[in-house]
């Protein structure tokens, strides 16, 4: 396609005026950038609540038989902590938050394909969260974020949990479809598949996963709700059902969901690294296509969560092999990121620190993931603190560190002001050290015999030489978990402070080359006055900007 043809295509676009009035602007908004901020604020509130529940869990575990919480309350606390962190924090922030904030800008679009659906999708989210937390009034769920029946059927609050998670699932499905259509149909002229920024690749694959997998979660939840309220025996072995049925359907969603929670982070890291290393991302195609490979295989590994559920051995075998196979595309990504650092001109900014912190922790989580894939080894490790440690390395060391990399990176685009770098670095180091100190020893706790979801751990260690060691380790982990919680205060202070004291960012404070930096910060309602024309991929630092109708002045010297 020649440039003149591209321009003809682009000229069809026209600009709508921004809405007037507070409600249409900030509440029932159709603007992807405002909706992104709505997601960030809502998830931020749930992050605080779920984080406080985590601290409560660690307070309880300060003693081997702490009478602070009853076993019941403790079970409610960790169940709502896990559910909220997965469905009310990580998934909405990474898809609804970052997807909405960056993706339309990065493909040079004026908004997503279906702005009304985008608004609707967001407004399913606050009621969903409120329902999940409201369950505390009616006997909150107690069986963990996985809510295995039959034990989950014994608390009436599970009905609230089902309804809440169902709503967030619908929201996730709609957003997935919306993003799929947006990325496939609305890329700026000239942006071929291999010129797409890697975050857009990651968002596309995530959108497919959300759209396809979440329906299974909805089915499982509907079954649980109907059984709980109307006593239809889906999971009742005495009437032809099976509790294992839930496990299959739940994990058929929840394993792909693991990748919904990490693929956008892969995308964020793939943007942050080249920006601050100032050289092309290493192995663009390998990183892009390995996301697709991971997504495809993610639908065929669910039963690796169920190796102790009495599956026949010939069923376990393919799930083990395919789970190990996921390690290969994931490894390709990690090695490519490390190679990107080679011979760069690296500027140590907060987003880069978070991305670099992400790499070894996610690698570690990946290695323990392979350890959990091997059936015989998993038989010992399953449902212990080894799993708790593994999943926090992947979801906190991985997802949450990547999430903060993205937040520091796109904060100036969202608000027009930079976050303070010194506070940002303090936040990083506090988080990095306290996270590792808290969660690394949990691997050993699990291997030595501490099972997950216990309010007391004196019984299984009573009379062994391990009781003191296990208690001390738990006290140590709790201490660092409190530091980890406190590190978030540094971020909160930084965020509030940036509103008045933050350096004015300008359009392109980091000297990046993707399209979201080719417009003002925050961008105008219509994003781009003229739809950009894309001539090359975005990562060739040192070359002129790859856009035909965008001023080369935007390739300015980075101010931070």
């Amino acid at each position: 396609m020649t440039i003149s043809e591209l321009q003809r295509e682009a000229s069809h676009a026209h600009i709508h005026p921004p809405p007037q009035g507070f409600v249409s602007r900030y509440v029932i908004s159709f603007d992807h950038k405002v909706i992104a901020v709505q997601y960030f604020i809502t998830s931020g509130l749930f992050f605080v609540l779920a984080g406080l529940l985590a601290e409560l869990i660690r307070v309880q575990l300060l003693q081997s038989h702490n009478t602070l919480l009853s076993a019941q309350t403790f079970a409610n606390a960790y169940s709502v902590h896990g559910s909220a962190m997965v469905w009310l924090v990580i998934i909405p922030v990474l898809t609804g938050g970052f997807g909405n904030l960056a993706m339309p800008l990065m493909i040079g679009a004026r908004d997503v394909a279906f702005p009304w659906l985008n608004m609707f999708s967001f407004w399913l989210f606050p009621p969903a969260g409120i329902l999940v937390f409201l369950s505390f009034l009616y006997g909150a769920p107690q069986a963990g974020w996985t809510e295995y029946p039959p034990v989950s059927l014994h608390t009436p609050g599970t009905a609230f949990w089902c309804a809440g998670i169902f709503l967030i699932g619908v929201s996730s499905t709609i957003t997935g479809i919306n993003f799929m259509v947006t990325i496939i149909k609305m890329r700026a002229p000239g942006m071929t598949w291999t010129r797409m920024p890697l975050f857009v690749w990651a968002t596309l694959v995530t959108a497919f996963l959300s759209a396809i997998a979440t329906a299974n979660l909805s089915a499982a939840l509907a079954g649980l709700f109907i059984q709980l309220v109307f006593h239809v025996p889906f999971y009742d072995p005495a009437h032809g059902g099976s509790p294992v049925l839930w496990q299959h359907v739940f994990w058929f969603y929840s394993h792909p969901a693991v990748y919904i929670m990490i693929l956008p982070v892969f995308g964020i890291v793939s943007e942050v690294l080249p920006t601050f290393v100032r050289r092309p991302i290493f192995g663009y195609r390998a990183i892009a296509y390995s996301s697709v490979a991971i997504a495809l295989v993610s639908f065929m590994v669910w039963a690796h969560h169920m190796f102790t559920s009495g599956l026949a051995q010939w069923v376990q075998l393919p799930f083990m092999i395919l789970t190990m196979a996921v390690g290969i595309p994931t490894g390709i990504k990690i090695f490519s990121w490390v190679a990107t650092l080679w011979d760069g001109r690296i500027r140590f900014t907060t987003p880069l620190l978070f991305a670099l912190g992400f790499l070894p922790m996610f690698t570690f989580g990946g290695i323990t993931g392979v350890m959990l894939a091997s059936v015989p080894a998993d038989i010992h490790e399953h449902a212990t603190y080894f799993v708790i440690a593994h999943l926090h390395y992947v979801l906190f060391g991985g997802s949450v560190f990547g999430l903060f990399a993205g937040l520091y990176y796109w904060w100036p685009k969202m608000t027009g002001r930079l976050l303070d770098e010194r506070l940002g670095k303090l936040h990083f180091w506090l988080m990095f050290i306290s996270f590792n100190a808290a969660f690394l020893p949990m691997h050993w706790l699990g291997l030595l015999g501490m099972q997950r979801r216990v309010a007391f751990y004196d019984n299984q260690f009573e009379g062994t030489k391990l009781l003191h060691l296990v208690t001390d380790t738990n006290v140590w982990a709790s201490f660092w978990a409190f530091v980890l919680g406190a590190s978030m205060l540094v971020f909160a202070y930084n965020a509030v402070r940036s509103a008045t004291h933050g350096k004015i960012a300008g359009p392109n404070p980091w000297g990046a080359r993707t399209l979201e930096w080719m417009t003002s910060s925050p961008p105008p309602y219509y994003n781009f006055a003229e739809i950009p024309l894309v001539l090359h991929g975005p990562y060739d630092y040192g070359k002129p900007l790859p856009y035909a109708n965008i001023s080369q002045d935007l390739a300015t010297e980075p101010i931070a």
């Binding site: 290393v277 009495g310 070894p360 030595l448």
Partner: protein, 365 residues
């Protein structure tokens, strides 16, 4: 802006760092090989050593991956970060990819995964497949919140106390006690020292095959959340020589027949309500509240046990009088409302039961 640097792609510092990382990896891998797992967690079943070998294998290859990834991140970050006076517009190497390198880091992990898959597959049948050499078949049943074991030849089951002869393969059929969905829960049978874990699922009976190879007393831990008493659901497995096992078995048989002929009854007179109240708080509140009948945790609320006109009869169908309540506490009960363990499982003495009855009588609402 477009500066080009004339130097080899990988300089001598890079190779020095690589050697250093290799040495660190080597030391850590040596550590993985010699780490005395046995000192921390005995390998008490025939399969345990195989599983620990797999674990070591994975740690052995995991260590260099982590060391090289972390090491190169730190080295590259130090080596290539811009110094004071460098332009912020400086750019790094324009290299986009390197097919040989990418092929290597695709193929090498694939080979490791393949070997790991084959090794895992070899270990898998060692405790799953039935074997002709099983000397005994035991039934293991998960209750809220204890493990019940039934032996062929014993009229009554033993609770939370699994005795096994050393070096003999046994088959244990695992399940959960209830199939009524209102009470049913999944438990899991885990003996860390055996490296064996299997869920006990209502409506499913799953056989596992274990050959204990070390004598000793180990823990049986429930690893599937089963309700408020989940943390307390810990039993023990005693692995003993065939002679000791036979002695235990005979004693158990003898005690059971003795108990049956004598028809032991407990005197419930002279109970102390205060002592009973303390005991209730420690032992019973996991499953019972002191509220009305409907304030159930697992079993019914017991606050109005002896004076409830809506529920004049006990779960056993007998009238609510102290002797019949004592009968339930002594022998346990299993019914629509759940399963209550007997006095041995709850570790109650005769005097304790008298105290509990006195306390329950004092609770008239």
């Amino acid at each position: 802006m477009n500066e080009t640097r004339k130097q080899p792609l990988l300089d001598s510092t890079f190779w020095s760092v690589t050697v250093l990382l290799t040495v660190i990896s080597g030391l850590l891998m040596w550590g993985v090989v010699i780490f005395p797992i046995e000192d921390w967690l005995p390998e008490a079943s025939s399969v345990a050593a195989h599983i620990d070998f797999l674990f070591r294998f994975m740690a052995f290859f995991g260590v260099p991956i982590l060391v090289y990834v972390s090491g190169y991140i730190i080295y590259f970050a130090w080596r290539y970060h811009i110094r004071k006076g460098d332009s912020r517009l400086a750019v790094g190497s324009p290299i986009h990819d390197h097919p040989g390198l990418e092929a290597a880091w695709t193929i090498v992990p694939s080979i490791i995964m393949l070997i790991l898959g084959v090794l895992s597959y070899i270990v898998m049948p060692k405790y799953y497949l039935a074997s002709a050499s099983s000397v005994a078949t035991i039934e293991g049943i998960g209750h809220t919140f204890y493990f019940e074991f039934r032996y062929p030849g014993l009229a009554q089951s033993v609770d939370n106390d699994l005795h096994l002869p050393v070096n003999k393969e046994v088959t244990i059929y695992l399940t959960s006690d209830e199939v009524d969905i209102r009470n049913a829960v999944i438990h899991s049978f885990w003996v860390p020292e055996f490296r064996v874990k299997q869920d006990m699922i209502p409506g499913m009976i799953v056989p596992i095959h274990i050959t204990p190879v070390k004598e000793g007393t180990f823990r049986i831990i429930c690893t599937e959340f089963c309700g408020v008493g989940h943390s307390d659901m810990v039993g023990r497995v005693v692995v003993q020589s065939q002679a000791d096992f036979d002695t235990w078995f005979k004693t158990e048989q003898h005690m059971q027949t003795q108990g049956a002929t004598k028809g032991v009854t407990i005197s419930i007179t002279g109970g102390n309500a205060t002592a009973g109240g303390q005991l209730f708080a420690a032992k019973c509140t996991t499953c019972h509240s002191t509220g009305a009948f409907d304030e159930r945790k697992v079993g019914p609320g017991l606050g109005n046990l002896f004076h409830d006109t809506n529920h004049p009869k006990l779960v056993t169908g007998k009238p609510a009088n102290p002797d019949d309540v004592a009968d339930i506490i002594e022998h346990g009960f299993s019914g629509d409302l759940g399963t209550m363990p007997n006095m041995q499982v709850n570790q109650l003495t005769d005097k304790d039961i008298a105290n509990l009855i006195a306390y329950l009588e004092s609770l008239h609402k």
